[in-house]
Symmetry: C2
Subunit: 453 residues, 2 copies
């Protein structure tokens, strides 16, 4: 069954740590899975975590714990350990992609020192290769642990080749078929190998319809591709098609989740990847920038409004609906922008023509605008004694909803064209812009109507 | 390589359809993957899609296309086809979980008719079993296609058992080890079987540390679990531990993505799962409800403000900052709420004490409130001629940021306690509530300060 971290468990464990009951603590570590240990470290201080860590006897598990820690915790952890311990106790037992991530997280001057202390030269070589890829590309995600068979072999030879390679690879999802030049030709499943007669040639049983990516493909695109085709692992090739490595689904899922979280945080006006458990300082730093952007925008808005001082002074009731106009503009704009951003993220709007997009958005904005302003008109018609105000507020609401919806559609599309992350358009930026435009629309309509009616 | 849907490809294909060039169209269908065909249907009308569909010769591919279609498209498609075609052409060739989804999407009266026309009685029985589970539970996600070996067998017997079962299962991720009562005991990898001598017992080589879920576990929890432990497939057991089926990672990833999209759309004030390519009617229906909630809230806000009419009439400058106060309250509230919602969704805040949460949130709110109101004070100090206004606006901004941050933290926590989706707290609901409270705070402070200074 799976492990559940409870307050009781934690209190009990901290007592064991305080009493330095090594044997008991080591037993608990032996019973826990690596990812659970890594998760638990969030609730312990560094000294407690280090004490427990050194009691993990299984080196592979110790390496896995390090791989599962989040970047900040790992950096703190590694800082406290000597180079040769890092190299021999962890790096030697890690998958190459995790090992490269750990090395990349070390300060530049330490990277070389640790690399030189790795005993397994193949592993060290793989890490150096992997470090050359940008971490946001397919190359930056891949590991070198692949099982390959030659297209010219027969099943018996292939199985014996697999037996030789199997030690390095934890999970065989696909056996890759390559030619003498290491060019990726296809895949063959273990089941197929198990079921075929020993003399059949790989070239007669392999599947040549393989989806692969180039090493320089954006990590996000690789993740979308593997999601679309439900791939457990995605082979990575170089410019001319030679097999370099594979990305496993767990790393691709992480990319997808990070992208989704980034978009979510962008919309909520948070500028850094944060969690509730982060420090006050980190959380403040993530939240303050967009608050300041909003503040400056709204100060401009107040400046705009001050231009209408006489109008507001003579018709104070105009002011009552300022927040309504601003809020409804913001709401409509965010709705439009977020639908566009999601469409761009999953690639679903690429084929629809721009004309059709605009036509649809205008239709939706008109319908929503008419319904909302009709309701507001009805309310004011019965409860307000100024007919000019009733007309002004409803007309402004209608205009603001239509304007904000179109603005919310255009801005992310334009940002996307300019290669800027369109998700910016869902945050306080668009709300604030819509506030300002909305106020101008409102006061202009008010100025005209109050002078006529 | 993977397929890219382009306008040119589509125009060319539509021309082929118009000219009824069956052979050319069938060739194109044979070259395309099921998921690409399903995706392309979005850009075709029903008649065009049906024409192409009937030209797919490979029945397994035809079944896969149906499984990959989104619910609406599938419903339209199935409506146009007779029961026995659905049963024999698709259901017989589908994995049991996909088949159950298709049947569940049919109108009640048709479900039984189609089920009775399925030729493979085992498949029909599996589907009936699967239909009994709630679609939002692990049982509702699982398929019956599992490979099992008995714990009492030796390797040779196990491999021959696997050979018998392998026809039904597309991808073997794990071979499950069960006892004579079908109780799940563990897993054994194909590699291990391949590498062990034929005489060794399964009980000596299997891995008993297996993570499983009960059939009634919430789908979202199952997805989080498989994500945490990087599982390619998750075995599902009944109340007493008998193995029922497995959920594959692609279905679990879909659950994760849907949850993330739901939270995202909730925050953007969209009440239904929509995509940019949906119809105008569907998009309007998804957007209007929250706009109306916002509208009603802001009408209440305007009513509140009307209580301060004389104050606004005598100090029109107070009105200039109404949108600023409202917007900053909204921004701070959404920031707090979204961090809590994300923390609840990934389970990371369960262990932190409530006291610590509140302490942190107050600290962050105080820092952000002080910085923002100090900046606003400085601005007004130099550019406003009313000192009472300068003090009022800054004091109100500080209070509103602190209040909105705490409100944004408490509301999702309270909703979660009441078993309501906390993500509601990130949408227009919290922005609107914060607007109203913010205005009250602002006007109250204004009333006091203007009468003193």
């Amino acid at each position: 069954m799976h492990f559940e971290l409870t307050r009781d468990f934690l209190d009990n464990l901290i007592e064991i740590i305080d009493k330095k009951e090594d044997k008991k603590a080591a037993e608990i570590m032996a019973d826990m899975r690596a990812v659970d240990i890594a998760e638990m470290y969030d609730s312990l201080d560094l000294e407690q975590a280090k004490y427990l860590y050194l009691l993990i006897e299984d080196r592979e598990k110790a390496a896995d714990v390090l791989a599962e820690l989040d970047d900040n915790d790992r950096t703190r952890f590694l800082k406290a350990l000597p180079d040769d311990v890092i190299a021999s106790k962890f790096i030697d037992h890690m998958d190459s992609d995790d090992a490269a991530d750990v090395i990349a997280g070390l300060p530049d001057e330490r990277q070389e020192e640790v690399l030189q202390k790795i005993k397994d030269i193949d592993q060290a070589g793989d890490i150096v290769d992997l470090l050359s890829y940008d971490e946001n590309t397919a190359g930056g995600l891949m590991g070198k642990e692949i099982i390959t068979v030659n297209i010219n072999d027969d099943v018996e030879k292939a199985i014996s080749e697999i037996r030789k390679q199997v030690d390095e690879v934890d999970d065989i999802y696909y056996v890759y078929v390559i030619d003498d030049d290491s060019m990726l030709k296809g895949t063959v499943s273990l089941t197929k190998l198990l079921l075929s007669s020993k003399g059949s040639g790989i070239k007669d049983i392999y599947n040549d319809d393989v989806i692969y990516v180039k090493a320089d493909m954006k990590a996000e695109d690789a993740a979308n591709l593997s999601d679309k085709y439900d791939l457990v692992a995605l082979p990575v090739v170089d410019e001319i098609g030679r097999l370099l490595g594979r990305i496993t689904f767990d790393d691709l899922v992480d990319v997808m989740r990070e992208e989704a979280e980034k978009d979510y945080q962008m919309m909520s006006g948070i500028s850094e990847d944060v969690e509730h458990s982060d420090t006050i300082w980190k959380l403040t730093r993530a939240r303050l920038p967009w608050l300041l952007v909003g503040l400056v925008g709204e100060i401009i808005g107040s400046k705009v409004l001050s231009g209408y001082e006489t109008q507001i002074a003579s018709h104070a009731a105009l002011a009552f609906f300022l927040p309504l106009i601003a809020a409804m503009g913001g709401n409509s704009g965010v709705q439009s922008a977020s639908i566009v951003v999601q469409g761009l993220a999953n690639g679903s709007i690429s084929i629809e023509t721009t004309f059709r997009k605009i036509f649809k958005e205008i239709s939706i904005a008109l319908i929503n605008g008419i319904i909302c302003s009709a309701l507001l008109f009805t309310y004011n018609f019965f409860f307000s004694d100024s007919f000019a105000l009733t007309i002004t507020v409803s007309a402004a609401l209608f205009s603001v909803i239509v304007f904000a919806s179109l603005f919310g559609t255009f801005v992310p599309l334009a940002l996307h064209k300019m290669k800027i992350d369109p998700a910016i358009a869902t945050g306080p930026f668009i709300t604030t812009s819509n506030d300002i435009f909305g106020l101008i629309i409102y006061m202009t309509i008010g100025g005209i109507l109050f002078s006529i009616i």
